[in-house]
Symmetry: C2
Subunit: 739 residues, 2 copies
């Protein structure tokens, strides 16, 4: 029970074999902490030549949560999940693995507990699929650390897990702005043009992405001279206009004589080797390429250093792609293909004769890493660390060239641990309505596994978007910590102005709302990071509701995610009176009207502009609530507060001088406004300021208390407070406080 550290209260570590040190956890393990695997509770345990199998019986109403970036419902029951980082660009419901591995899950029901598998190879988790009452975890290896969290509630289990694995990543403040991407804005001209459009049209934007076409022949760390004649000048000018550039960095290094990165890597042994002893070669975007051996600290140091030119040009962020790693094909596979075709030529064509070339298992079996001590490490043993180790390598650059500063880093592949050092997005989704729902669910699952800063490509990466889908997705994007619009080559353009004037105006208001909410968002994000509480969370009072979520502690979002909908069903749980495990169907309407009318009420803000309040008070219950295309359904919990300010074009412009506080206060509400410099890591040393807002309902009036706790380096500039307070009848009281 981690007696020595005494930090973990409900955690037991069961060890099998001699697990590899993955870096997924941050707490030191003392020998005394260890329990033998066969003493594991909650599971039946089998160890044989196939590795380790853990099984746990599920009762009919048990639910299972967690697993981060996985497809399917929030309750993960009824599917097989394969944790083996894979670049699969078609996220249909049957797919078992995506880009990341987040082997933390929570069983909630008769017995509630969490389990985390500190293991970087393939894990198969069958949650009631093969056998409906059985949770089965399989690991094809016998060196693994298994942590069991025996706390009672989901929140406590998550806190314990994050205490073990580390505090979530905090990006620079500008990263909470709107971000525009496209595969590709391939040159200076097109990026400048896009930037101008945002500013001219008054659509807030903080970042523009540079996808693979900025490079020379897809050679990583190059910048094409024709397309970017003066990159440094261009980058500086974009930054002056408030745009951060976010270049893509892929791991694969083109095999090319005279290409410095390739040469350095070869000379210094920074690349992965093949089982046969030579360098491992695989085709990715640049054609045949080497894969950096990020498992090795020398490689990481070197790789980090390669970011110098970008960082010196003012670039503060990157996105790492293709780092599962993704492999299109290998020289062997091509030869095999030619042989197959030759065979078919002689024996007749077979439509199923040649199998897909990308990401075949044998590629990964052929890769060998080199440990820091020089010993070879088969890739498959540590496959899921590749993206994490690449992020660690990138950070070497940040640490060297912008020490003490916060950086922006998005990684496609990730594992537990990555959540401390980078944000992630959900990969190559599609312009499908179904993927709005996936986005909603992954926000919750990812937050539960520590990835607070995450999001999905708004509008969808593949396939073609259209006006209504874009608008609804943008509305969901307001509540997505990473709010990035991204789309693939060959698909319809997805910039906010690409869908006609009416759609543009709606989306501009939507994103202005996001900027207006920044004081709330940033305060709550930092509160959650510090408290190790998910920033985005499901309705703990109604865990069957998988299409609404809490954004911080005051706002419940109920995004519309279906075509042509002019409203949606909403469940308003009674946060005070309902025990966490109650099934919502038992809670409400068993007799058609036995609504739980006690407990927390909700203030609905049917929002079409950040500065127009159209509000109504709702009792707990079930409703179908209308929302026109330009309207969002934002629910504010009783006795909580939401803060807003004036939206700006980009976040660096924002000096919050006046704060609007919306409150639905029937008793007492408190909110802690938080500020720091938004750019450095000094907040970790206490360099931040807070402002406590307390409102008490007092007969027919409200008592308002403000108390500042300011760090001298972070003065709070707010001098004006506009209170808009609502009571249970929806009556509004406005107060203007100058302080």
């Amino acid at each position: 029970m981690f007696k020595r550290s005494a930090i973990l209260n409900f955690t037991t570590l069961y060890r099998l074999g001699r697990p590899f040190k993955t870096g997924m956890t941050t707490l030191p393990v003392d020998e005394e902490d260890l329990r033998p695997i066969d003493s594991i509770n909650k599971f039946d345990c089998t160890i044989d030549e196939n590795g380790l199998t853990l099984t746990h019986s599920l009762l009919p109403h048990d639910r299972v949560f967690g697993l981060g970036q996985t497809l399917g419902a929030l309750n993960k029951r009824g599917k097989v999940y394969r944790l083996y980082a894979t670049d699969d660009p078609v996220h249909t419901p049957d797919k078992e693995c995506l880009y990341g591995s987040h082997p933390f899950l929570i069983v909630e029901g008769a017995e509630t507990f969490g389990v985390f598998l500190d293991y970087p190879g393939e894990i198969i988790i069958d949650i009631g699929f093969t056998q409906d009452d059985l949770l089965c975890i399989q690991i094809g290896h016998s060196d693994v650390d298994i942590y069991v969290f025996d706390a009672q509630g989901i929140r406590d289990i998550v806190r314990e897990f994050l205490t073990l694995t580390g505090s979530p990543y905090v990006p620079p403040k500008w990263a909470f702005g709107y971000q525009q991407s496209r595969w590709s804005y391939p040159d200076e001209r097109s990026i400048v043009e896009i930037g101008k459009m945002f500013r001219q049209k008054g659509f807030p934007c903080d970042a523009i992405y540079m996808d693979i076409d900025y490079m020379d022949d897809y050679k990583v760390f190059t910048i094409n001279q024709q397309r970017f004649r003066d990159f440094e000048g261009f980058a500086a000018s974009m930054k002056r206009d408030g745009f951060r550039l976010v270049p893509i960095i892929d791991p694969a290094v083109k095999v090319e004589r005279g290409y410095g990165v390739c040469q350095e890597g070869v000379e210094n042994g920074y690349f992965c080797r093949s089982i046969d002893g030579g360098l491992f070669v695989a085709a990715v975007w640049p054609g045949f390429a080497y894969l950096p051996d990020f498992h090795n600290q020398d490689t990481r140091k070197w790789w980090g250093g390669l970011h110098k030119r970008f960082i010196e040009a003012g670039v503060e962020g990157f996105w790492n792609d293709m780092n599962e790693p993704s492999i299109f094909y290998t020289p062997n596979a091509v030869n095999e293909f030619y042989d197959t075709v030759q065979y078919m030529k002689q024996n007749g064509f077979d439509k199923d004769g040649s199998t897909p070339m990308s990401n075949r298992p044998e590629y990964f079996e052929d890769i060998v890493h080199t440990g820091d001590d020089g010993t070879p490490v088969p890739h498959n043993l540590i496959h899921n660390l590749y993206g994490f180790d690449m992020a660690r390598a990138t950070i070497e650059g940040f640490n060297e060239y912008m020490p003490g500063q916060r950086y922006f880093l998005l990684s496609r592949s990730s594992c537990t641990g990555t959540h401390r050092i980078a944000g992630i997005w959900t990969g190559d989704n599609m312009s499908w309505w179904e993927h709005l729902l996936s986005h909603i669910r992954m926000l919750m699952s990812l937050n539960m596994t520590g990835f607070f800063y995450c999001g999905a490509d708004i509008g969808g990466f593949g396939c073609n978007a259209y006006a209504e889908l874009m608008i609804r997705w943008m509305q969901l994007g307001v509540f997505s910590p990473l709010c990035r619009n991204h789309s693939a080559m060959g698909t319809r353009y997805q910039e906010p102005w690409a869908f006609g004037h009416r759609a543009f105006e709606i989306m501009r208001e939507v994103i202005r709302l996001r900027y207006a909410l920044l004081p709330y968002t940033y305060s709550e994000y930092m509160r959650c990071v510090r408290g190790l509480v998910p920033f985005i969370s499901p309705l703990f009072e109604a865990m069957d509701i998988e299409d609404q979520f809490m954004y911080g502690d005051s706002i419940m979002a109920a995004p519309i995610y279906q075509p042509n909908a002019r409203g949606r069903y909403v469940t308003l749980p009674s946060a005070r009176s309902v025990p966490p495990a109650t099934v919502v169907s038992e809670l409400i309407n068993c007799q058609g009207q036995a609504l739980e009318r006690q407990g927390t009420k909700w203030l609905l803000w049917r929002c079409s502009r950040y500065d127009v309040r159209d509000v109504e008070v709702y009792e707990p219950g079930v409703y179908y609530i209308g929302a026109e295309l330009g309207e969002m359904l934002i629910f504010i919990k009783e006795d909580t507060l939401v803060t807003l300010t004036q939206p700006v074009d980009y976040i660096d412009q924002a000096v919050c001088k006046s704060l609007t506080i919306i409150g639905f206060v029937t008793d007492k509400a408190t909110f802690t406004h938080y500020e720091d410099d938004g750019r450095t890591l000094k907040y970790r040393e206490g360099c931040f300021s807070t402002l406590d807002i307390v409102i008490e309902r007092d007969d027919d009036d409200y008592a308002i208390m403000l108390s500042r706790n300011e760090h001298p380096d972070v003065p709070i500039a707010i001098t004006e407070f506009m209170f808009e307070l609502y009571d249970a009848s929806g009556q509004k009281v406005c107060r203007h406080v100058v302080a």
Copy 2:
């Protein structure tokens, strides 16, 4: 306005050019009926070298329904639909075309009207996708008949459309039973085994399918001798046990010397030709094959005759597959592929170098049909008729070898017109929860376009199913006119006993319910066919609700289609008081509680067994209603009746002697019980019997009136009537009437 026929009251026909006679409509057109295309109302019309373009402006709240077998929501707005029959086995939301072409749509809103395009080639329909306020129909040709239906309500428009295009297909009565399929039960032994399991386990079943492996080398109209040593004896024995065999028939005829079907076809010119004058050759299941030219009447006659052996062995039904037609590749495409590979060998491998082989446009451009008068007809002009013409060919066999009898025919490809002569299924779906919702929506869309007898593969064809998905899909299957469980080679077995005992027992009760409901289902189906009213229809009072549907006039089904759900949201519309075009969000809950409490109430039967009534009365409104895994939510409309009988093992066993009538009667309810011989077409000449059941609420009691209208050849055997009548308080009154 069809003055001569005087049957169509709201229809105008606009003709462009000299349209091909497709057979989609059944009413004769008089020259006087015709209007020139440029006089078309409702649309702006452009004719140029690209063909015909029709556009109609959509207002924000206009809705568009119809289009039969298409993906997406029930309201078709927000997507592009390409009506060009295509075998695409991955039904992701972005796909624009499936297997059929049903070019009938209804615009509902400020202006309400229907439009039907009697045109058998490609049609592109962009409903607010490219431009959100524009419906745009494009036809790349200028010979087309366009019917505009200017009736006011959806029901009237559908009736007008069906009056024009013909009365829906009526299968034999056994076709309402449960049907079991698999790719494949490849031999006598496995089919016998499956049959035994159904009977031993008391799981009702009426039909077992024979997929492609029953043939010799996929040669159509052969039966493999090794796997079926005595097909006739086997077929007779299965029939004695109450199982209809349904063999698959594919169009492609293997090119093989000595294979009779091939030889006859070649000798008589029954196959499609290539543009270069030779026979068109394409690879399908049997390898290289010829495609019968079903456009030609001699071919159809010949093809029909080929079914003789099956029909004489007692087979009464077939399913036609691959009849879009589906083409794997052609000899030319293979050569091109080899050339591409050769090029790559010399110039470097390119992962995107070779494009998919199946169903390339150039294949279809190469096919030429021969009209009955000997003139060549380019395939693409009539592409969408191929499946329809194949069905017409099949029927030649039924007419010859089982005249006067009803036949069973399922066709994968179809167009308007097919609905008169065959049922369809929705093709190769997947074991995805999303496809349950597709199933629900397609049931409604297909019924609106005349395909009353339709269904989707229960459990999903591709991918692996699991217990909960199977159960929920089976529950939906109760209300699917075609109720077939089918799955693909390589996927998990999907027979009802494949998911454990508990799941089996639940599913058995589910299907028993279907059999118990047969009197209701059959009576309502025949009423709808005779009245040209959709058998399955959306909630006309709440058209935004796309996940509930009426099954006949008394039952509203609210299937559960999400994983782990133990309940769902349900909207109970107020059928009496709400005008059809009211948006549900306006109707309910605008103030959170302004529920429409007047009008039709609903009786919820939370059904886990056909003979156990767990009922409650609900007011109109919005609810979240619990339903455990074994429970279905069946709503019975106020003042309507539902009839049940004892379930049987197969429908031929069913002689309905006792009828249970469930009624939720607050004023007066009527139901017409219908019977015919279930096997012949004599019902068309009035050879059927009816029994009118009328119940009037009379103070605190009910007055029950029964009146028989019996045809001498169809005596109604019912002697016992069990009434279970509920009033608005849920009070139950039972009556036992012997008559």
